[in-house]
C-alpha cells in the first residue's frame, strides 16, 4: 500500500471520503424520517424541520453520487452496444467522446449551480432558515468532482470501491 504514488493515495482517500459522506447522509435520511413519525405519534409534537433537512440530504446524495458513479464500472446507465462491438481504436475514441460529453454536461450544471448560488445568496430555507447556498453548492461541487473523476479514470482507469 505504501508504495503507491501520492496521487493514487489521495484518490483512495477521496473515494473513502465519498463513501463516508454518502453513507452518512443516507443514515441521516433514515433517522430524520423515522424521527418525524416518532415525534408525531409517540410524542405528539410534530417536527417541522425534519422533512426539509432529509430532502436537502438527498439532493447532496444525488449530486455527490452522480459524481461517484463516474469512477466505478457499475455506474450511470448507458447503452454500450456500439462500443462493445467496436474495434479497439473506435472504442477508445468513443470513450474519449463520452467522457468529453460528461464533462461538458457537468460544467453546464456547475455553471448553473454557481448562478443559482449568486441569485439566492441571501435566501434562507423555509423552516430551519438554513442558507440555501449550502444546498445549491452541491450543484457546483458535485459536478466538479464528476469532472475530476471523468478525467482521472480516463487516464488511470476506474477507481472501484474495495469491499
Amino acid at each position: 500500500m505504501n508504495e503507491l504514488p501520492l496521487g493514487s493515495r489521495l484518490v483512495r482517500l477521496l473515494a473513502a471520503t465519498e463513501r463516508g459522506v454518502i453513507g452518512g447522509l443516507m443514515a441521516a435520511i433514515v433517522v430524520l424520517t423515522l424521527a418525524q413519525v416518532i415525534w408525531r405519534y409517540v410524542l405528539g409534537n410534530p417536527l417541522q424541520w425534519s422533512e426539509e433537512v432529509a430532502r436537502y440530504c438527498f439532493v447532496w446524495v444525488t449530486l455527490l453520487g452522480a459524481a461517484t458513479l463516474l469512477r466505478v464500472s457499475d455506474g450511470h446507465p448507458r447503452i454500450d452496444t456500439l462500443s462493445l462491438r467496436a474495434g479497439p481504436r473506435l472504442r477508445s475514441a468513443l470513450d474519449v467522446f463520452s467522457r468529453a460529453m460528461v464533462i461538458l454536461c457537468s460544467i453546464a450544471i456547475a455553471a448553473g449551480g454557481l448562478r443559482m448560488m449568486q441569485l439566492h445568496w441571501e435566501q434562507r430555507s423555509p423552516s430551519l432558515e438554513l442558507p440555501m447556498a449550502w444546498i445549491y453548492v452541491a450543484m457546483l461541487l458535485g459536478p466538479l468532482l464528476g469532472v475530476f473523476w471523468a478525467l482521472w479514470c480516463g487516464a488511470h482507469g476506474n477507481v472501484e470501491d474495495e469491499v
Binding site: R19, I22, G23, G24, L25, M26, A27, I29, V30, T33, L34, Q36, V37, Y41, E51, A54, R55, Y56, F58, V59, V61, T62, L63, L64, G65, A66, T68, L69, V72, G75, H76, P77, R78, I79, D80, T81, L82, S83, L94, D95, F97, S98, M101, V102, L104, C105, S106, A108, I109, A111, G112, G113, R115, M116, L119, I135, Y136, M139, D161, V163
Partner: protein
C-alpha cells in the same frame, strides 16, 4: 424544430455510449439553445434550477428507503425463509422447484421494490437448487427473471413511486392496483412451469406435513408481515409513503439484527452507501428528465403529440395499444426507470385527455416496462440470472421467450380489463 434538435442530440449521444442522464441533459441544453427567446445564461440557470426541483421532492425519498429496506431484508436472511415457506406450500407439485421460485419471488416482492433486487435474492437460492435437480439452466434462469420482474408490480414499488410523483397519483392506489396483475402473472408463470415439467419430466419435492408448513410459516411470518405494515400504514393515514418506507427500514433492521440475527451492525454502513449510489443513478436521471420535461411543456410538445395521436384515433383501445407497443419498444432500448421517466410526462397528459384512469394506466405502464427488464439487450434481470446460472445470455434470451409471452398476454389482459387493476383500490375507497 427544437424537438428535432432534442431528439437528434439525445439519440446520437446515447448511441455513442454517453450515459443516458448526461445525454438527456445535453440534449435539453441543445434544445434550449435553439429556442429563440431563451439566452444561454437563462438556460443554464434553468437547468440547475430544474435539477434541484426534480430531486427536492419528499415523496421521492421513498425510493432510497424502499431500496434500502429490500437490501436489508435480503442480507438479513429473509429470502431463504420465504423460499422455505414457499417450498412447503407448492414444492410437491410437478416441477416443484419452479413453483417455489415463482411463489417465493411473489413473497419477496412484498419486501422489495425493484426487479433486480427480487431476481438476485430469489435467484441466488433457487437457480443452484433447480440446477442440482436437473432443470435446464437456461429455463431456470429465464423463469427466475420473469418471477423477479414481479418486484416492481407487487407493492412496494420504486417505479410506482416515480410514476405517482410524476402524475400526482395516489401511491396507495397504485400499490393496491399492482396486486391482481402481479398474482395473475405469477399464476401464468406457474402454468408455464407445469407445462415444462410435464414435457421435460422435472421432479417434484417431497410433500411436507401440516405441522412443518405451520412452523415454516411462523419463521417467514415477520417477512410476510412487511407489506402489510407498509400498506396498512399508508391506507390508515398513519404514515405517508415515504414515512412507511422509513418504518420498513427500521423493521428490516430489527428483524435482521435481533430476530433472525443474520445482519450485523457492521454491514449497515456499506449497505447505506450502496443504496445511496443506486438511488443517485435513478435520481440523477429524474433530475435531468425534469429539465427536459419542463422545456417540452414550455414548448407545448406533449399537447402536440397528444393531438397527433388523437387525430389517428380517439378510440381508447387503439391508443392504449399504440402506447403499449411504444413502451415495449422503449423497454428494448432504455433501462426501465429511464423509460418511465422519459415517457411518463408525455403519456400521462394524453391518458388524462382520453379519460383513462391514471391508476389503471400507471399499473399498465409499470407492467409493460417490467417486461423490458427480462429481455435483451438492456434487461438487468436477464444479466443477473445469466451470471447466476452460468448459461449464456444468448441461451437465456431464447429460454425467456415463453416467459415474455406470458407477461405480454397479462399486459393485454389488464390493459383491456381495467377492473382487474382497479378492483382492489376501489375496494379500499380509491
Amino acid at each position: 424544430m427544437s424537438t428535432v434538435v432534442l431528439l437528434v442530440v439525445f439519440i446520437g449521444l446515447m448511441a455513442a455510449g454517453v450515459p443516458i442522464a448526461f445525454a438527456l441533459g445535453l440534449a435539453g441544453i441543445a434544445m434550449a439553445a435553439v429556442i429563440p427567446d431563451l439566452s444561454m445564461l437563462t438556460a443554464l440557470t434553468l437547468f440547475a434550477q430544474r435539477l434541484f426541483v426534480g430531486i427536492d421532492v419528499f415523496l421521492l425519498l421513498a425510493i432510497p428507503l424502499f431500496i434500502l429496506a429490500g437490501t436489508l431484508m435480503e442480507v438479513g436472511g429473509t429470502a431463504r425463509r420465504l423460499v422455505d415457506f414457499a417450498s412447503a406450500l407448492v414444492g410437491w407439485l410437478p416441477g416443484g422447484l419452479g413453483f417455489v421460485t415463482v411463489l417465493s419471488a411473489m413473497f419477496f416482492s412484498g419486501v422489495s421494490g425493484s426487479a433486480s433486487a427480487d431476481t438476485a435474492a430469489v435467484g441466488s437460492v433457487m437457480i443452484p437448487a433447480m440446477k442440482r435437480k436437473g432443470y435446464d439452466a437456461p429455463f431456470a434462469a429465464a423463469l427466475t427473471a420473469g418471477a423477479g420482474a414481479l418486484g416492481p408490480i407487487i407493492p412496494p414499488s420504486v417505479l410506482m413511486v416515480i410514476y405517482g410523483a410524476m402524475g400526482n397519483v395516489s401511491i396507495a392506489a397504485l400499490f393496491l392496483g399492482g396486486f391482481v396483475p402481479g398474482i395473475i402473472i405469477g399464476l401464468g408463470l406457474m402454468g408455464l412451469v407445469y407445462a415444462m415439467a410435464r414435457m421435460r419430466n422435472y421432479p417434484s419435492e417431497a410433500r411436507v406435513g401440516l405441522k412443518e408448513i405451520i412452523a415454516r410459516f411462523f419463521r417467514a411470518f415477520l417477512a410476510l408481515l412487511m407489506p402489510v405494515i407498509i400498506l396498512g400504514g399508508i391506507f390508515s393515514g398513519v404514515f405517508t409513503a415515504t414515512e412507511s418506507a422509513a418504518v420498513a427500514v427500521a423493521y428490516a433492521i430489527v428483524i435482521g439484527v435481533f430476530l433472525y440475527q443474520e445482519l450485523r451492525w457492521s454491514q449497515i454502513p456499506k449497505l447505506l452507501y450502496r443504496t445511496g449510489l443506486v438511488s443517485a443513478k435513478v435520481m440523477f436521471l429524474i433530475a435531468t428528465a425534469t429539465f427536459v420535461g419542463f422545456l417540452l411543456a414550455h414548448q407545448k410538445i406533449p399537447q402536440a403529440i397528444a393531438q397527433n395521436l388523437l387525430s389517428i384515433s380517439r378510440e381508447p383501445w387503439l391508443v392504449l395499444l399504440l402506447v403499449n407497443v411504444t413502451m415495449l419498444l422503449a423497454g428494448c432500448i432504455l433501462e426501465v426507470a429511464a423509460a418511465l421517466i422519459i415517457l411518463g410526462p408525455v403519456l400521462i397528459p394524453i391518458m388524462q385527455s382520453l379519460g383513462i384512469d391514471l391508476v389503471h394506466f400507471g399499473v399498465v405502464m409499470v407492467v409493460s416496462l417490467a417486461i423490458g427488464t427480462i429481455h435483451p439487450p438492456v434487461g438487468n434481470c436477464l444479466y443477473i440470472v445469466s451470471a447466476l446460472s452460468g448459461a449464456s445470455i444468448a441461451r437465456c434470451s431464447i429460454a425467456v421467450i415463453p416467459v415474455v409471452a406470458v407477461m405480454i398476454f397479462v399486459l393485454m389482459l389488464i390493459t383491456y380489463v381495467p377492473d382487474l387493476v382497479l378492483v382492489v383500490p376501489r375496494h379500499f375507497g380509491f
